[in-house]
Structures are given as structure tokens and as C-alpha cells.
């Protein structure tokens, strides 16, 4: 069928769905977020079967399919293993651009932590050491962004 859109106005119906969500963090994830909020510490956990140290911690090892019980405190420092600098503005961004999204391999962890870097972007490259900058205790709510950002050392 050929439609000449200069001569007809196709009817549409506008709609949106707005579904509110409340996701339970769960006991294991809560340990991580509460340690951020109350102690400014980063907690991971280690699968004793394959010796992988995960961060954030998780209830079970996906590969071994066994429960994980051993929690470990990780350092607040690590190295950037991948990054991208964001220069455009978009409402869903966690902070004003410019900033960088980065995968950070914390000391003692075997997996990356996804976070942001806000300053010294001209010095940012893979392999640089970074340190977690926590928000003030009064501003921390038990959220991954209780770590305000990572800062290049």
C-alpha cells in the first residue's frame, strides 16, 4: 500500500507505562551497601571452590554454583582496567558531564567494579591507580554512589 503522508494524517495513540519498582537488595548485597554507608569500607566475598573474589559480594558463585560464605574487606584502591569519557549531557547520567565510566579492579578483587571518575580526566588512562572518594557520612544512604567517585592517585 502506498501512503502519501503529505495528504493523510495517520492516527496514533499516545501512551506510556509508569510502573513503580522497589527492589529488595537482599542480605548479601546489603552487607556491601551498609559497609559503604556506615564504615566507608568496600566488602567483597570469595568463592572457596574457585578462589574468585567478587565485588560486589554475591550469594553464590555462578560458575561453581555453590554458596559463598567468606566475606573479605577489599582496599579502597585499585587500577582502571577500562574506561570511557562522557562529554554529552543526558538526564539519566549519574553526574554532570564531563566524567568517565570506569571498570576498576580493586586490590584483592578478581572482577571489576563499575564506577565513575570525575576529575583529572586528561590524566585518565587504563592502568592508572585510583582511590575511592566517599561522600560525607551525612550524605551516604546505602547506595553504590555513597562512593562519590574514584580519584586518580
Amino acid at each position: 500500500m502506498t501512503v502519501n503522508l503529505d495528504q493523510v494524517e495517520p492516527l496514533t495513540l499516545k501512551g506510556q507505562i509508569a510502573v513503580p519498582y522497589t527492589w529488595w537488595v537482599g542480605e548479601v548485597g546489603s552487607k556491601f551497601l551498609i559497609a559503604l554507608r556506615d564504615e566507608a569500607k568496600i566488602i567483597g566475598n570469595r568463592c572457596t571452590k574457585c578462589n574468585t573474589t567478587y565485588v560486589p559480594p554475591r550469594k553464590n558463585c555462578g560458575s561453581c554454583f555453590t554458596d559463598i560464605y567468606e566475606f573479605v574487606e577489599l582496599g579502597n584502591e585499585g587500577i582502571v582496567s577500562a574506561h570511557t569519557v562522557v562529554r554529552f549531557k543526558y538526564p539519566l547520567q549519574p553526574v554532570e558531564s564531563p566524567f568517565a565510566y570506569a571498570l576498576i579492579r580493586l586490590d584483592g578483587a578478581d572482577v571489576g567494579l563499575v564506577h565513575i571518575i570525575k576529575r583529572d580526566l586528561d590524566r585518565l588512562k587504563n592502568g592508572v591507580r585510583v582511590k575511592a572518594q566517599f561522600k560525607d557520612p551525612s550524605e551516604r544512604t546505602g547506595h553504590i554512589l555513597d562512593i562519590d567517585s574514584f580519584q586518580i592517585i
Partner: protein, 385 residues
């Protein structure tokens, strides 16, 4: 030619209104571990996974990929199957297809829901047509209220008749340690509960539940080595009728269930359902379905549902016990709800239903139901087909 397939293991969480202690993926892990423990398999024995939940319920719309840590599907074939209320029977039937095809020997079916994480109605209305039906008639209650009213008018059934169905299911739930609502109720309690939409009252309908279920399917030759008494798939059927709510003929009954049951009975060689089937786990989301839909299933004649219930034929010890688990009115983690019907029916066939076991089950029936009047059927049996 399809291979013969049997269920060899089942697992489910202890269902609650809220599970703040775990996120969805961790809850899935609980059910999968229990299913694997039930049949003494390890996750490494599983060849493929089929998983489902309700679209929009947790905003987890790529559950196949998101779940792998909990479902055990790391580096395995996994596929999401999401069909609304029937998601649980769909994942079961899809797992059956996987094994029957000859491509996989041991397949895990998973259904789950975290109803506590969202607004159920805001999500569920997306089942119906956005231009024509969604503004007025969607969600769980309206079409069911219409169906119930039509049934009452047609056959003179009463609200008390329906209340007896809710009382039966809630009474049966007392035998099920996994059930969500485990407090006995009376017909008077149902009648006194708040009216939602005439004639449906609060205690006539299912709750919202957090929970997960997992079922292991295995091929002929493999199944017998895993389970001493596997639950063989005797028949599966799926039927849909919905495009326009206005087209539904409420006096004609639940046509999709009539069609699905006819097909499944033919496959399984069932001529007299109430005699040939030993136990039924039916997806009854509200009490009136327990009157009307047993007529569609041929347990009794049209209009005979209320008498059949009142005479106790569907109670434990009756002619055809319905919902020994307590059914959907006692537990409703929606993406898992229909899989729980299959898991419970399998447990009955395998003789592993503990306090809720019906004696000497040879044939068990499980159904699934979706909000715009579609139906699934699964028939399980002790005899290899």
C-alpha cells in the same frame, strides 16, 4: 517422532508476601538448588535452561541473561519464555519440547516472581490491546468479574458456592509448608471480606507472592536412572482465543480450556476425567474459576460445579482432589504459579508430596491460565507413554 520425557525433580522456595532477604536472582538460586537436590543432580548435569517471569513485574525483562548466576545457566543454552499467567506452564512445555526434540537430555525449567517489587496491575494491563481494551477492561479483576456474574446468572450459582472453593484451597494449604497463606478461613470470612468488583471479594482472589519454582525434565532412558519413579509427560496442550475482550462469549465458558483439555485428554487416552485423573493442580486465580472451570475440564456437567464442590468430590479424600498444595488462592508468585501446578502434580505422581500426598496417584493434571482467557494443560503419569 518426539522422545518420551519425564519430570525427575522439583524444587520451590518457601513462599512469602515479601522476601527482603534475597534479590530475585538469589531467590531463583534457592529453587534451583532444591530441584537439583531433589533428583541428586549437579548443575553440570543440566544441558539447557528455560526461564520465565512476568514482563514489567520487576523490570527484569532479559531474565535469561540476568539470571544465569542463580539459574545455573553460566555458559549453557538458556532461553526466556514469557507468556503472562501461563509462563510457568510455558517454561515447562518448552523444556518438554527441548527434551522431546532429542537435542537435550536434561533440561531445567524455572519460573519466578517478586510480586513485592512492583505494582502488579500497572504491569499486568500490558497484556491487553493498547488501542481498544487497555483503557477500560484490563488487569486481573474486570474480565473475571464478568465471567463470574455470567456464570451465576446462567446457573444460579451463589457467592457462597464460590467461597467454598477458596475455603477448600486455603484448607489444603495447611498441609503445604511452602504455601504463602497458611491460615484457615471460613465461608463467613470470605463473605465478610471487602468487595473488589461484584461478585469478587478479597478472599475470593489469589494473593501476591514472592517465590520461585524449578523442575528438571529428562529424556527416556536418562530419566529412569535419575528417578526411581519419574513423572512421565502424557500430554501437553496450549490454546489461545483473545484478541478483543468484546468478542468473548461469557456464556460459552472458558473455550481455551475446553479446547486444551479435549486435546490433552485425547493424547493421554482419558475418557472420563473425574474417574481417570487421580489429582488435579489447577490454576484457579479466583474462587469462581473453581466452580466453572472444572466443568470445562469435564469433571462434572455444565452448572454442576457448585454441587460437585459442596459434595466434597474435590477435597482431599474425594473423587478427584483439587489443589492439595493450596493452589493459586494460597500462593501466587505469578511467573512460578503455573510451574508450581506442574511441580506439585509431578510430586503427586512421584509419591513425594509428603503431607499433601493423595494416595496411589497414577495420573495427575496441571493447568495454566492467562489473564485474557488463554489456557495450558499438562498431564503427567506413572506409566511411560
Amino acid at each position: 517422532m518426539a522422545r518420551r520425557v519425564a519430570i525427575v525433580g522439583t524444587g520451590q522456595t518457601d513462599h512469602r508476601s515479601h522476601r527482603p532477604d534475597v534479590n530475585g536472582r538469589e531467590m531463583i538460586y534457592e529453587a534451583v538448588k532444591r530441584a537439583l537436590d531433589d533428583c541428586e543432580l549437579s548443575i553440570h548435569d543440566i544441558d539447557a535452561v528455560v526461564i520465565g517471569n512476568m514482563d514489567h513485574f520487576e523490570s527484569i525483562n532479559y531474565v535469561d541473561t540476568w539470571s544465569v548466576e542463580g539459574s545455573g545457566a553460566v555458559m549453557k543454552p538458556i532461553m526466556k519464555v514469557t507468556t503472562g499467567g501461563t509462563t510457568g506452564t510455558s517454561v515447562a512445555i518448552a523444556a518438554y519440547y527441548h527434551v522431546a526434540s532429542g537435542l537435550f537430555d536434561r533440561v531445567l525449567a524455572i519460573g519466578w516472581e517478586k510480586n513485592s517489587e512492583s505494582d502488579t496491575t500497572a504491569a499486568i494491563i500490558t497484556c491487553s490491546d493498547p488501542i481498544w481494551d487497555r483503557f477500560s477492561y484490563s488487569g486481573a479483576i474486570p474480565s473475571l468479574a464478568t465471567e463470574a456474574s455470567a456464570y451465576m446468572k446462567q446457573y444460579g450459582a451463589t457467592q457462597e458456592d464460590a467461597a467454598r472453593v477458596a475455603v477448600r484451597d486455603r484448607t489444603h494449604a495447611l498441609n503445604n509448608p511452602h504455601a504463602h497463606l497458611r491460615r484457615p478461613i471460613t465461608v463467613e470470612d470470605v463473605m465478610a471480606s471487602p468487595m473488589l468488583a461484584y461478585p469478587i471479594k478479597l478472599l475470593d482472589v489469589c494473593p501476591r507472592t514472592d517465590g520461585a519454582a524449578a523442575v528438571v525434565f529428562a529424556a527416556d532412558g536418562v530419566a529412569q536412572k535419575i528417578a526411581p519413579k519419574p513423572a512421565w509427560i502424557r500430554a501437553c496442550a496450549v490454546r489461545h482465543t483473545y484478541t478483543w475482550f468484546g468478542d468473548v462469549d461469557y456464556n460459552a465458558g472458558l473455550v481455551s480450556l475446553q479446547g486444551a483439555s479435549r486435546e490433552a485428554y485425547q493424547q493421554a487416552g482419558i475418557r472420563n476425567p473425574a474417574e481417570d485423573i487421580d489429582v488435579a493442580e489447577l490454576y484457579l486465580p479466583y474462587s469462581y474459576a473453581g466452580l466453572k472451570w472444572i466443568e470445562e475440564l469435564g469433571f462434572c456437567g455444565p452448572g454442576e460445579g457448585p454441587g460437585f464442590i459442596q459434595d466434597g468430590h474435590t477435597d482431599m479424600g474425594g473423587k478427584i482432589p483439587v489443589n492439595p498444595s493450596g493452589g493459586v488462592i494460597s500462593t501466587n508468585c505469578i511467573g512460578a504459579t503455573a510451574l508450581l501446578r506442574v511441580a506439585e502434580a509431578a510430586g503427586q505422581v512421584m509419591g513425594k508430596a509428603s503431607q499433601r500426598q493423595v494416595p496411589d496417584v497414577e495420573v495427575a493434571l496441571a493447568t495454566g491460565f492467562g489473564g485474557c482467557f488463554w489456557s495450558d494443560m499438562v498431564i503427567l503419569g506413572t506409566v511411560r507413554p
